[in-house]
């Protein structure tokens, strides 16, 4: 059973009207931004599924998702004006209410992002209630992450020893791994590793991990 804090009950401080459709949507946008390298993408096509598709206007889910992509907090008074801020930051966006299939959670969103450097990113996430969220897919990989802990992603070659090397570096710096998962589409090709840690990971440590020969890329996310 979850150990609630008094601030889970009286809190969070947030912009209304809904913890799942507004606060959760901001957090989903923030994670997508973090995965995109903590910068505002140049374009975002946003697909809304289920209850998100049906009630997004009345809940400000669209404003909330864009706010997240712009890096706003869940209690920012600017959420209401997110579209104006998006224009200032040259973020082009479109919303598409869609049906992503019966297997998806009712509050699911798919982001198709193009970063300023032209690279593309596809992220699927869900808002599961009370402002809690989970990312379920990244660039076609089924993953699982909640964004409430410092999170490190690696894209790497699927070869023996890579997990050992990454966890070794973390161990050297006394960083405790809370959750860890490895995902791949095909044996011995590319794989993704998601590490959620109790402690924040410094830039130096991330650089060391990037220097491991079989690591193709890394992303680091502070808790959102």
């Amino acid at each position: 059973m979850k150990d609630f804090s008094v601030f889970d009950i009286i809190g969070p401080i947030m912009v209304g009207p809904s913890s799942s459709h507004t606060a959760g949507a901001v957090r989903l946008g923030k994670i997508a931004r973090a995965i995109a390298g903590n910068q505002t993408p140049s374009s975002a096509e946003i697909y809304l599924h289920g209850s998100f598709a049906e009630t997004y206007k009345g809940h400000g889910t669209d404003l909330a998702l864009i706010s997240g992509l712009l890096g706003f907090e869940t209690d920012s008074p600017d959420i209401k004006k997110a579209f104006e801020f998006a224009e200032k930051e040259d973020l082009k966006f479109n919303f598409f209410p869609v049906d992503l299939g019966p297997a998806q959670h009712p509050n699911t969103v798919k982001f198709s992002l193009i970063k300023k450097d032209g690279t593309k990113l596809e992220i699927i996430g869900k808002s599961v209630g009370g402002g809690n969220i989970a990312i379920t897919e990244l660039d076609g990989y089924e993953i699982s992450l909640k964004g409430d802990l410092p999170t490190l992603f690696t894209k790497h070659k699927d070869i023996p020893g890579i997990i050992h090397q990454v966890s070794g570096i973390l161990c050297d710096h006394k960083i405790n791994i809370a959750f860890m998962k490895v995902f791949r589409k095909e044996k011995r090709l590319e794989a993704i590793m998601v590490l959620e840690t109790d402690d924040t990971i410094s830039k130096d440590i991330i650089k060391q991990i990037q220097n491991i020969p079989s690591i193709l890329s890394t992303h680091y996310l502070d808790p959102v």
């Binding site: 009950i9 969070p12 401080i13 009207p17 809904s18 049906e54 209690d75 008074p77 919303f95």
Partner: protein, 293 residues
Amino acid sequence: MNYNYFSEIVEKANQRKCKISSIVKEWEEEKQEKDIAEIVKLMSEQWQVMKRAVDSGLNNPQISMGGLIGGEGKKIISYMEKNNNNDIYLKSAARALAVAEVSASMGKIVAAPTAGSAGIIPAVMLACIEKYGSSEEEIIDALFTASGLGIVIAKGASISGAEGGCQAECGSAGAMAAAAAAELMGGSPQASSNAAAMVLKNVLGLVCDPVAGLVEVPCAKRNVMGTTLAIVSAEMAVAGVTSVIPLDEVIAAMDSIGKSLPAILRETGKGGLAVTPTGLEIEKRVKGEKKNV
């Protein structure tokens, strides 16, 4: 120490001859590994946001995102001023509506325990300041009493409309506010428990049936229900009225009722008021168009 039942908290407070809020603060201190001063400061921040939300809703009313509510709180205050009416229940109703309106127009609020029920605790706390002269410090303490009960309800039943219906949201908020108010009115720990039980017993079975799926209708006015019930139940409990069914058993009943509610009455917008002719018409107007890809 960990508490799963409110009676355990009451018993501890009785043993120690202290308020429930003191027990809850210590409980939080253990969990967070932060000192009490820091925890109190955080709670004070929540309280400041609550007060600002009330002020903003009354002084600067906005139309909600779905366009269904807005300005009702101010309307009540204007009526009261015009008629020299200073009734605390009516004033509290205006305040609860004000917060609900702020939330529905994307203003800043404190989920207490949810965004949809965010007006109840601020309105009841302000009534305690006005009627019983409670100090800021006492209010912040009482918010721990409220959230301690909220934790017990979240563990034993639910505070989510999607899981337990409106009884879990406005019901829980009302019960939490009543427990806090009873403490502020000088009641014993057991009076807080009785006050909360009397609120919950009156909302058992209350469904969550938001029109067009929006947190506007009937949510805003159900905040008034929770507020009114909380104040009167706290007064009753402090007067010595007790709940025949103990609070923890009421919470268990709420849990089993919530579980037996059909999904159409749990925040899906597919039952109750949401499917009345007017509700359906509003839904058609508000919803985004859907297409397949």
